[in-house]
């Protein structure tokens, strides 16, 4: 008998990158098949191919459903064949009730009017199936994330989904909701629903999955039944790649302490009571790169944003920058910048650039006050500073007046780095500084980090690319669900140790 679902030799290219390279994956009826891999290994791409988000024809290989080749051209197509995607970003309308959300776009009608009684009855039955005891009239906005996820699953089941695809369903869930969700998934399996379960959390994977497939760099590197493998083996499959690139990590000459953090915690903006960063303490010295490792949702970005005064939720702890006294967290980036911090955020387009502005305007944005002469901007000095910074960064742009949106990702990143270097910060916070940029620009940025550190700057580096992180950092702090799980010194930070600290359960409660 053919498997329920069979992906054969799927290949998917993006400009300049092969995201999937001949990946095969199958799913038996009533099975939970886990898909594991580091950030960027290709898990999300694979399920987008499966669900038709990347339409048939845009990838190589073949998808077979019950033995028959299918060509999906969008989510509706795959949904019609019983495949339901529960994405990381939930697709519910916050202002509408649970019942309305469940039938949105497929409202039962008579004479053009919605039959509300039927909508509510059906919703009640659907919520029963996922064990959610709330009034169906509740607006979705009033539900916690865990409950919203259950509503999504109920919606999928209402459409008679035979295959559920769950992308990191527990990434944002509090502990109790996670356990409840895992219980429900186990029940659904008992009722014959097959599931593809994507998760970073190996404890969950080993508690739930029947089979485990590991992706690495767009290839499938192994599939095993749960009883036949161990978390250690899965981790070594996930990280087992040779470090092919040379990283110019400068000799560490530890200087004075530039940044020190004590008992730093950040509340979760979505779940009051939960913390996205929980009790972090570290020091960064001049001439040192401190790496922050962790999986998606481990709290790395929240940590950097909170250091910089840009958290969207309450922050606790004390921070000390340069020789200053210990103080409470910064209230906004202005205070942090004045103290000598600079942040290069993970999302350049959203938090960094204004795309229609020129290279000149973008690069001097944080230092305009310094170019004032008798109230007006000294354009010559401003241009001189920006062009000096451009050549130091080897920026490739057709002049300073080009809109920054026309530059390549790597050059955009250099513009933002230039913006901060013009401010001469003490400590540079880098969040995924090489995301989405080409190899050449990456190694230039590595060189730059090396030069800056050699010049006495302190750097805090977050990167999802483990080789990059380990290659550049003098010490590595591992976060797991917001908690510090160990600080590894130089050579002690092996990929296996870091990944194991990042994936192992942190709570028994």
């Amino acid at each position: 008998m053919p498997p329920l679902l069979d992906l054969r030799a799927i290949t998917k290219d993006f400009p300049g990158v092969r995201a999937l390279d001949g990946v095969s994956f199958d799913l038996e009826p009533g099975e939970i098949h886990a898909l594991c891999g580091e950030n960027g290994a290709g898990k999300s791409t694979l399920i987008k191919v499966l669900c038709g988000v990347y339409p048939s024809g845009s990838y190589g290989g073949e998808i077979r459903l019950g033995g028959e080749t299918v060509h999906f051209r969008g989510l509706p197509g795959s949904e019609a064949r019983g495949i339901a995607l529960i994405a990381q970003e939930l697709a519910l309308v916050p202002g509408l009730s649970v019942a309305e959300n469940l039938r949105l776009g497929r409202e039962p009608r008579r004479f053009g009017l919605i039959r509300w009684a039927e909508v509510r009855d059906e919703a009640r039955r659907a919520l029963d199936r996922v064990g959610l005891a709330i009034p169906v009239e509740t607006p979705v906005r009033e539900l916690g994330i865990g409950q919203q996820q259950l509503v999504e699953i109920a919606k999928a089941l209402m459409k008679n989904a035979a295959i559920l695809v769950l992308d990191e369903p527990t990434a944002a869930l509090p502990e109790a909701d996670t356990r409840r969700l895992l219980g429900l998934l186990g029940d659904l399996r008992g009722r014959g629903v097959a599931m593809i379960y994507i998760s970073h959390r190996l404890d969950e994977v080993f508690a739930l999955a029947d089979r485990i497939t590991v992706l690495r760099d767009g290839r499938s590197v192994g599939t095993a039944r749960r009883e036949e493998t161990t978390p250690e083996r899965v981790i070594s499959l996930m990280v087992g790649r040779e470090i092919s690139q040379a990283f110019p990590r400068p000799e560490r000459q530890p200087g004075e302490i530039l940044l020190s953090l004590r008992n730093w915690s950040v509340a979760d903006p979505q779940n009051p009571g939960r913390r996205v960063v929980d009790g972090v303490t570290f020091d960064v010295r001049a001439g040192e790169v401190l790496g922050i490792a962790g999986l998606m949702g481990a709290g790395r970005t929240a940590l950097l944003a909170s250091l910089f005064g840009a958290a969207r939720s309450p922050v606790q702890g004390t921070i000390q920058v340069g020789g200053g006294p210990p103080r409470r967290p910064f209230r906004d980036p202005r205070e942090a910048i004045a103290a000598g911090l600079a942040l290069v955020g993970e999302d350049r387009k959203r938090y960094g650039l204004f795309a229609r502005g020129s290279v000149l305007d973008n690069m001097t944005l944080a230092s305009l006050q310094g170019f004032r002469r008798r109230g007006l901007l000294d354009d010559r000095a401003r241009r001189a500073a920006a062009s000096g910074q451009s050549s130091a960064l080897r920026l490739k742009a057709a002049g300073l007046d080009v809109p920054v949106g026309q530059l390549s990702g790597g050059n955009q990143q250099k513009v933002i780095l230039g913006r901060w270097l013009l401010r001469r910060p003490r400590v540079l916070l880098l969040d995924e500084p090489t995301r989405g940029i080409d190899v050449g620009a990456k190694s230039e940025i590595y060189d730059l980090i090396g030069r800056l550190v050699a010049g006495g700057l302190g750097v805090v580096l977050v990167s999802s690319e483990l080789p990059e992180l380990l290659g550049l950092s003098h010490r590595v702090l591992v976060l797991n669900q917001g908690r510090p799980m160990g600080l590894f010194e130089g050579g002690a930070a092996t990929p296996e140790r870091v990944m194991s600290a990042a994936t192992t359960a942190t709570v028994g409660a």
């Binding site: 959203r350 960094g352 204004f354």
Partner: protein
């Protein structure tokens, strides 16, 4: 090659605006047997666009910062009336009466800006409410009747510079342009020389009638100041950053709230100036002065290339937009077109201008 094309397209945008203006002018010139182009009419045209222009150059910065101000028409009406009443009824010195309009305008603008910045009320709502309140206050202070201030007040709206003074002013402007042309490099230099030629031509034209109108001089002076603020001060560049990407501005340490209060204050100050010129030009403070002028100002800014999404727009573009709008009004009056056609055509042009812009943007991807 691609880069060169893209740069051409930016110029192409300005060129379409000038081209559209030329088309409008040619059509009206032909239709009026040349009356439209007579110095007398062009002088009138320049005076007609003065009030809208003063509001539009401020509106550009408001919109660039990603905001909107619907109250400027009513605020101009109110401040203009206050100045006229202080001068005519209370016997204040002229300078003090004008200062009153400017200070009240700036203070009310600052109040609106504070509500937007600190209480986070959407600017559409704050200034819509402001518009209604200012209209009501205007009706109250005028008592529902028109007040005509004595002649010296009207100077600001109706007088002309003597021809010689006009030449002296333009001489100074040309000298300043030549001086800056020496200091800037590359593409901007021919632009400045062209501008100098345009200034000389305009003064010759105005002097052929009665001289450069004082309100036109005020508009050009304010536009120069505002353009300098926009491009050569940290405040101005920060406004573009806030409107272009508020998050990026926040992460760069810009005090967004302070800048919002600042831009609304500046807008209020300009509304005060526009109010004085309006009252002086009309010759009376009327109970419904300034109504709908905010829409003309917004339309002028948008026709002149300001993006309602924020982060994009120029002061000189807004003046060009105001010129397009005033040309339509003026030309249709000359043709004795029935009055109802004016708003219909202006509305059509406004939507068409943005449609052309959006089409161009899609083409660029």
């Amino acid at each position: 090659m691609l880069k060169r094309l893209k740069r051409l397209e930016i110029d192409w945008r300005a060129l379409t605006m000038v081209g559209a203006l030329l088309v409008i002018w040619v059509v009206f010139s032909v239709a009026t047997d040349g009356t439209f182009l007579l110095p007398r009419n062009l002088s009138l045209l320049a005076r007609q666009m003065a009030v809208t222009s003063i509001l539009a150059v401020g509106m550009v910065l408001v919109i660039v910062a990603g905001q909107i101000d619907l109250s400027v028409g009513a605020l101009a009406g109110l401040t203009g009336a206050l100045a006229a009443l202080a001068y005519a009824r209370l016997g204040w010195p002229l300078a003090l009466a004008i200062l009153l309009a400017l200070v009240v305008g700036a203070m009310l603008g600052a109040l609106e800006g504070s509500l937007v910045a600190w209480l986070r009320i959407p600017p559409f709502i704050v200034t819509l409410g402001g518009m209604l309140v200012f209209q009501g206050v205007l009706l109250g202070v005028t008592g529902g009747v028109s007040t005509s201030p004595p002649r010296p007040f009207l100077f600001l709206g109706q007088a002309y510079l003597p021809p010689l003074a006009g030449w002296i002013v333009v001489g100074a402007v040309v000298a300043a342009l030549a001086f800056t042309a020496l200091r800037v490099q590359g593409r901007k230099r021919p632009g400045r020389l062209g501008l100098a030629a345009l200034a000389i031509g305009a003064v010759a034209l105005m002097n052929a009638y009665a001289g450069v109108p004082v309100p036109v001089l005020i508009v050009l002076a304010l536009a120069t100041v505002l353009s300098t603020v926009a491009h050569h001060t940290p405040f101005g560049r920060h406004l573009y950053a806030i409107g272009g990407n508020r998050e990026a501005a926040f992460y760069s340490g810009i005090a967004i709230e302070g800048h919002l209060v600042g831009v609304f204050t500046l807008m209020g100050l300009l509304a005060g100036a526009a109010g004085v010129v309006l009252t002086a030009r009309v010759g009376a403070a009327t109970p419904n002065a300034g109504q709908l002028m905010e829409l003309d100002a917004i339309a002028a800014a948008v026709i002149g290339g300001t993006s309602l999404l924020g982060g994009q727009g120029t002061v000189w573009g807004a003046l060009l937009g105001a010129l397009v709008m005033a040309s339509l009004d003026n030309g249709m009056s000359l043709l004795n077109t029935e009055a109802f056609w004016q708003p219909i055509l202006k509305g059509g042009i406004l939507v068409a201008a943005v449609a052309v812009d959006m089409a161009g943007r899609r083409g660029r991807g």
